[in-house]
């Protein structure tokens, strides 16, 4: 395809900007694709058109479902041509179009024919294409051919089958596992890459069988492994076996260590490095074991190839964390790397040196570092800061230059994590090195004068309050602190008030002046600031009305709260509902270990009650029937969704109540399933009084009381709300109201007269996920593509610090209440990023698809990208709102 596709006049325009694809346009190319249907195929022209289509796809152009199907069908016609080059392009485009299941059937027979062709190239490629697009059922049909292909004498064919096997193992493990005999045979192949691919597949098949992996390693480490890639694999498997064999308790050599050591003398650098790295990562590696590995890495440090230098310095950097002494031999080579053109190499060299350096080299190092701090990324800077902190603690005499360095970089631009790392470092240095205190505090004071991070400001103010009063001249800090009261947001202002109070309490000479400052705070616009000021004025006040003695007062200001915060929170929540004054002594002091049983308890039905779980089970049909039989609710239309019951009472209480939320287009019905667990009582006229003051979008429509609720026989009462369109959310407070009648236990007769009573239930929330039905799709990609891209909404969110990626994924899936597709809700352990596909139907019967892309970085900060497609733009927006407010 050498000829230009341009129009004549374009050609003359700008010779330098010449491109055969200039002015290419999707519609025109799709028109051109009609040549695929010509009875007399022109292979050359067809190839060109396919190239153009591939070019468009490669540039990020997308085909609509209809277009893709059209192209796909046209392309299938090209199997008639015998032209090898054209066939090759046909294979390529089929893979790119990733056809749907129905479409796949059309090419299956052509591809199967090619799979059994005499031409090796056809066989290899047909296998790769077919394995890419078929599903499990078709796979069983071609399994026989694939097994043959694995042991094919042509290495290209064998590799194609093996690599396809590796991919298929993810989706159809039970089928691929049956091939292990053939794969085993292929491991003995003389072709280098066949050995590599078969080894990879065999290991994955046997991954969970320790013994088998160990056997595999034992036999191969003795045999011949031909390709460097296969050798690298074998090194990885060997270290896995060593790792699983447990720590090296005896002084004897580790099994297989000789093999790793031998690989250090391999002729391929790739293998040498892999082995060196594997040795440094051995658990409990000894210096004797490390030495040969460090020696080869040291040689790499002075290589002319940047990649080798990088690989070596990166590995040595890791070693320096655990075995700094082992790396000191490389220090001279490392210092010359500080001026390396490649900044990544320089950064790694510097941080390694900081870990291994000695006192005399500190000043020189700091000079070199300062020069290049400005052109490395935050993540690297944090590493440098942490390394400097460790160094400073190691050589306290050098604090002056190190502290200066820290304060300099604190003044420069940087993100939160970076600034936090610097502040933390300074705080640690102040604590551990007494001489550094004054200058350190001063640097921190300067920093909060212009600090955009509330968290850091409050932390520093707190620290200042504890340390400042103990310095020689506390008065010089007051200005910085009071400036915060004038200039900052409420959170920082209240912190500053506390800090001022601490100075006032500790330094008598400052007390009258602090008093004046605190009095000014009484006119602050924020409650918390005013409250604190009032409290402190009274505490440290000259009249001593609250703090009777000096000690009491200091205890109050500096002492820690001796109750766990979680317990305090619970107690305060209970206090809010009660009438009694709060008493901190009533807060339990023991730390609750949050037993699992406690969480499960509410869902467990009280034992001894013969009745089945209250009400019908979460079966939509049954609910629908029940609800439509109630005249008040029959006009609400079709039931959209019923949620699983939520317990509103603790286990083992007098009355057990759970609630089922029923969602309709314009209404929400709460079905309260009540059980009376007191044999001596009969409840009558049971209703639930729902306070919807925290649910503005809802107004009560009707309710259906329960006439009588005898002991141990569940009954239902309903409350219906009318709601605004879409996903209205809110919080409801529930009170069970009823008439209690005493029952005579001897004859079961109830008394005539009853007493009105109430029983407080837990709150109930209607959340956005309640409006989402979990409905899966069989082929997410196709479904996604068939949605109008116009209705796509994409945005990114920071999820803050999370325990793990899996936890973050789980949380978001929960908030949305959608159905994860294709098993994407499970996150492979150790992965740093993950994509989760969700589908569902939103209220109003709007189909919604969601693509979530998660990424996690070092300090467990999780970021998420949310792409939503739905049949209705406003629903796409609503999904974003859910996340934004969740």
């Amino acid at each position: 395809m050498a000829q230009p596709y341009l129009k004549k006049d374009d050609d003359r325009d700008d010779e330098a900007e010449y491109s055969p694809f200039m002015g290419i346009e999707k519609g025109a190319v799709l028109q051109e694709a009609k040549v695929f249907n010509d009875p007399q195929l022109d292979p050359r022209r067809c190839s060109q058109v396919i190239t153009k289509l591939l070019y468009l796809l490669n540039q990020g152009e997308t085909f609509t479902k209809v277009e893709a199907t059209g192209v796909f069908f046209a392309v299938t016609k090209l199997f008639q041509s015998k032209d090898i080059g054209l066939r090759r392009m046909v294979y390529l485009i089929i893979k790119e179009l990733s056809p749907s299941a129905e479409e796949v059937i059309i090419v299956t027979s052509s591809l199967m024919k090619d799979m059994n062709s005499k031409t090796d190239m056809y066989r290899a490629n047909a296998i790769r294409v077919l394995c890419r697009i078929i599903d499990g059922t078709l796979l069983t049909q071609i399994e026989r051919y694939l097994k043959q292909a694995i042991v094919d004498k042509n290495p290209v064919v064998a590799s194609a089958a093996l690599v396809s096997g590796i991919h298929l193992l993810q989706t159809n493990p039970e089928i691929v596992r049956r091939w292990s005999n053939e794969v085993q045979e292929a491991v003995q192949s003389r072709a280098a890459l066949v050995q590599f691919h078969s080894l990879a597949l065999l290991h994955q098949i046997r991954q969970n069988d320790r013994l088998a992996v160990s056997k595999l390693v034992t036999s191969l480490t003795k045999g011949t492994v031909r390709s460097p890639l296969a050798q690298c694999l074998l090194i990885r498997y060997t270290s896995q076996v060593i790792r699983e064999a447990g720590p090296n308790t005896q002084t004897a050599d580790r099994p297989f260590f000789d093999y790793l050591d031998g690989c250090l003398r391999h002729k391929a650098e790739m293998v040498i490095f892999e082995a060196a790295r594997a040795i440094t990562e051995l658990t409990g590696v000894t210096n004797r074991e490390l030495t040969p590995a460090i020696t080869v890495l040291q040689l790499f440090l002075s290589s002319s190839k940047p990649v080798l230098r990088f690989a070596a310095v990166r590995t040595l950097n890791k070693v320096a964390m655990t075995h700094p002494m082992a790396v000191t031999n490389c220090n001279i080579d490392m210092e010359s790397l500080i001026s390396d053109q490649n900044r990544s190499i320089a950064t790694l060299a510097i941080t390694t040196l900081l870990k291994t350096g000695n006192e005399s080299s500190v000043d020189r190092l700091m000079k070199q570092i300062t020069n290049f701090m400005s052109d490395i990324a935050d993540e690297f800077k944090i590493v440098v800061v942490e390394a400097i902190r460790t160094l400073c603690l190691k050589f306290p005499l050098k604090y002056r230059s190190l502290m200066n360095f820290l304060s300099n970089i604190l003044r420069e631009e940087g993100g939160f994590e970076y600034k936090k790392a610097i502040v933390d470092s300074i705080v640690i240095l102040i604590r551990d090195i007494p001489d550094a205190k004054e200058s350190g505090l001063f640097h921190l004071c300067e920093f909060i004068e212009d600090c955009e991070f509330t968290y850091l400001s409050t932390q520093i103010l707190h620290f200042l309050g504890n340390e400042g009063p103990k310095t020689a001249d506390p008065s010089k800090y007051i200005r910085y602190i009071y400036n915060r009261v004038i200039l900052e947001n409420a959170t920082v202002r209240s912190s500053a008030v506390s800090t001022l109070a601490k100075f006032g309490a500790m330094v008598d000479s400052l007390k009258p002046r602090i008093f004046i400052l605190l009095k000014r705070c009484l006119f602050d616009s924020d409650d918390e600031v005013r409250d604190r000021a009032t409290l402190y004025l009274n505490t440290i006040g000259c009249d001593g009305s609250v703090g009777e003695t000096d000690n009491d007062m200091k205890d109050f200001l500096f002492g820690s709260l001796d109750v766990p915060l979680a317990n305090l929170e619970t107690s305060l929540r209970n206090y809010e509902l009660s009438e009694e004054p709060f008493n901190i002594d009533s807060v339990p002091k023991e730390v609750k270990s949050q037993p699992l049983a406690e969480k499960k308890a509410p869902s467990k039905k009280p034992t001894g009650l013969g009745a089945p779980p209250s009400g019908p089970t979460s079966n939509l049909d049954a609910y629908e029937k029940t609800l439509s039989s109630i005249p008040e609710f029959s006009s609400f239309g079709k039931l959209f969704k019923s949620l699983a019951p939520v317990e509103l009472t603790e286990a083992e209480t007098e009355y057990a109540v759970n609630v089922v939320k029923h969602i309709y287009d314009g209404h929400v019905v709460f079905q309260y399933n009540c059980t009376n667990t007191i044999p001596e009582q009969l409840l009558e006229n049971v209703t639930v009084i729902v306070d919807a003051s925290e649910a503005e979008d809802f107004s009560e429509a009707s309710s259906k009381p329960l006439r009588s609720l005898p002991y141990d026989s569940p009954g239902q009462t309903f409350v219906a709300f009318e709601k605004s369109d879409g996903a209205a959310i809110g919080k409801f407070t529930n009170t069970l109201k009823f008439i209690v009648k005493e029952v005579d236990p001897t004859n079961g007769e109830a008394e005539e007269d009853g007493v009105d009573d109430e029983y407080q239930l837990e709150d109930l929330e209607v959340v956005a996920a309640d409006y989402m039905l979990k409905v899966g799709v069989s082929n997410f990609r196709n479904a996604w593509e068939s949605m109008d891209p116009e209705c796509e909404r994409v945005d990114e969110y920071g999820l803050g610090v999370r325990e793990s990626l899996a936890e973050a994924v789980g949380a978001v899936v929960n908030i949305l209440g959608m159905q994860p597709c294709e098993g994407t809700e499970t996150v492979p352990s150790n992965s740093r990023s993950h994509t989760c596909l969700l589908s569902g139907v939103f209220i109003g019967n709007v189909k919604v698809l969601v693509r979530l892309s998660f990424g996690i970085d070092g300090p467990k900060q999780v970021a998420m990208k949310l792409a939503v497609r739905s049949e209705d733009q406003s629903v796409s927006d609503a999904i974003h709102e859910i996340i934004a407010s969740g």
């Binding site: 050498a2 596709y5 080059g85 590599f196 940047p306 990649v307 690989a311």
Partner: protein, 184 residues
């Protein structure tokens, strides 16, 4: 592109191969990992890689850099920038072997006239070349001569320059020009 990342724990894997021009625009790219699920994510990655590397001198020896949790090895020639990306625990030398395989194979395929124009004119060869190097993240072949050989054996005449075209091909070309001018 399917997600095959799960098994990469212990197997060398390639996350993407990029061939960009001197302005960072795509000539040909291929992603094997869904770390970048959307077109925008991909373009953003390409942009950040390009801007961070464009000033480096990666013309004689392959260079290396880290991006977020990835390692990128790269090499430039004329107005073409070759990149190969792998995870941050990948053996850098394996990545550079793949890069070198791609780089040298393209050199052979373009008869050492390696520049953007030549690459675009022979885009089919470049795409086939990518297809022969990595399959779904797995390294399929890394030897440049084998790769180039496999690509060329399939495309008998595709690389033939204009002057060597047969009469019928020339006619076909002319016909194409003619139809284009009609469609204009």
């Amino acid at each position: 592109m399917a997600n095959f990342s799960a098994y990469h724990v212990s197997c060398p894997s390639i996350k993407n191969i990029l061939l960009l021009d001197s302005e960072g625009k795509r000539v040909a790219v291929k992603y094997y990992s869904d770390d970048w699920p959307t077109l925008n994510a991909k373009l953003a990655f390409e942009k950040s890689v390009f801007t961070k590397t464009q000033k480096t001198n990666a013309r004689t020896e392959a260079e290396i850099a880290m991006f977020e949790n990835n390692i990128v090895v790269y090499k430039f020639i004329q107005d073409l920038h070759f990149y190969v990306t792998g995870g941050d625990d990948e053996n850098e030398l394996i990545l550079v072997t793949v890069l070198q395989g791609f780089f040298d194979a393209v050199g052979t395929l373009l008869r050492q006239n390696v520049d953007k124009r030549e690459a675009l004119e022979n885009l089919n060869l470049i795409l086939l070349c990518l297809d022969e190097i990595v399959d779904g993240g797995m390294i399929l072949e890394s030897d440049p001569n084998t790769i180039a050989g496999k690509v060329l054996s399939h495309s008998v005449d595709a690389a033939a320059p204009l002057s060597e075209q047969t009469i019928s091909q020339a006619l076909a070309t002319a016909r194409e020009h003619f139809t284009r001018s009609l469609l204009k």
